[in-house]
Symmetry: C2
Subunit: 212 residues, 2 copies
DNA sequence: TAACATAGAATGAGCGTTCAATCTAGAATA
DNA sequence: TATTCTAGATTGAACGCTCATTCTATGTTA
């Protein structure tokens, strides 16, 4: 089918098969969960024999790890793009609509929830999740620091970390909302989120935490 | 072991066995997930034979349904207690510390995440989750309406629903944070949450949603 | 005795994984 | 060009095990 002069790298064909398996596994995991989906199901969905999957992945756990890593990596590109914008806050506010829609998407949410549930009991998966989260958090922190510095607001670590934590909690909470209240208008949520994010980014810091 | 004069109702002994099974199942599901935990494990943890479990539950699915219902029911008591308070907003703000701590508790979070993941693919579980969510949402809505009415603020449905959705998203997002960033200081999160909740409850409404 | 509680073995299906056997297609050789 | 060689791709059966569930037999109690 492909008449390349050179058969390209060793991995060309193998890479295709590998991502073919990952795509099929992703579908199956979404539909039945990591433990509910079987290698046999995945192999059928990928159009190959069950045994052949073991030429590309050591075991089922390795497939899970690959999918978890791939899924979380997507987050990293997002905040990096904000930082490149002329006005950081504007870029963030404009990204909210898309961010809300994505987290509320049933297919997206279902796999992300499965990853979180698995991470809460599988140390290997937890390690991946936390490592990606760290890189993601420092990227968002840097973005936020820029936005506040441009407005002459405090940028101490406690303030920045607190704001980041609240904002990420808000967005990740939408995963739960997509299950609990799937018909709620995404535009309404986005509007409310915009106000909260704006207030957080342009509001006072959290240097002096005191019990009320 | 128990020398009651009357064996009490038919369910007395049976009820004890039932909750014995549910407690054991809850532990196992927390540790291995709904599909990762086996009836054999649950029976060992409950101190009875595997077959005997089927005298109290039709099948594994029924155990899952019972646990999901029990877990979610706890939410309902919370907002009802707020409403009884002298000042609703103060009661809510005071409840934040506890609410944050609870959602960040690894054991609690792990089961709740499992429930959400299961609900996103199991229609029976989804039905339970949504029904409890509806009752919970209207309870919080009523509480919020009181708080805003007492301050002469708008209480239209769109405003109330938007605020409720954002607040619940924040709190449920903590489930994800407990996995991603488990060591973050809960007091800092609570402080930030207090400000956001106060601003939302006492701020302008969302009657006129418009794109920026 | 009658009714329920309980244990434990039995069942058949499905699991993740392994492995020997085949297929395929290009390189090497003649 | 025709033939052989070879190494990777691929299959499908088989393995040992565990699963959820059912069945039968025995205790226990009232």
């Amino acid at each position: 089918m492909n008449a390349d002069a050179q058969p390209s790298t060793d991995s060309s064909r193998a890479e295709a098969r590998r991502s073919q398996i990952l795509a099929a596994a992703s579908d199956c995991f979404r539909a039945h969960g990591f433990h509910g989906a079987s290698i046999s199901q995945i192999s059928k969905s990928a159009g190959m024999s069950a045994g052949h999957i073991y030429h590309y992945f050591e075991n089922k756990e390795a497939i899970i790890a690959a999918i978890v890593g791939d899924d979380l990596d997507q987050l990293l590109t997002l905040s990096a793009s904000w930082r490149a914008a002329a006005d950081v806050l504007d870029a963030m506010l404009e990204g909210i609509e898309e961010g809300v829609g994505k987290k509320l998407d049933r297919n997206v949410a279902s796999l992300k929830l499965e990853i979180l549930a698995e991470a809460s009991r599988n140390p290997e998966v937890a390690k991946i999740v936390r490592s990606v989260n760290q890189r993601c958090n420092s990227s968002i922190s840097e973005t936020l620091r820029l936005a506040r510095a441009a407005r002459g607001l405090s940028t101490d670590d406690t303030t920045i970390a607190s704001i980041v934590e609240v904002m990420t909690a808000m967005f990740e909470g939408l995963l739960a909302r997509s299950v609990r209240n799937p018909d709620f208008d995404a535009a309404l949520i986005a509007a409310a989120f915009r106000r909260v994010v704006r207030d957080l980014v342009t509001g006072p810091g959290f240097e002096h935490v005191s019990r009320p």
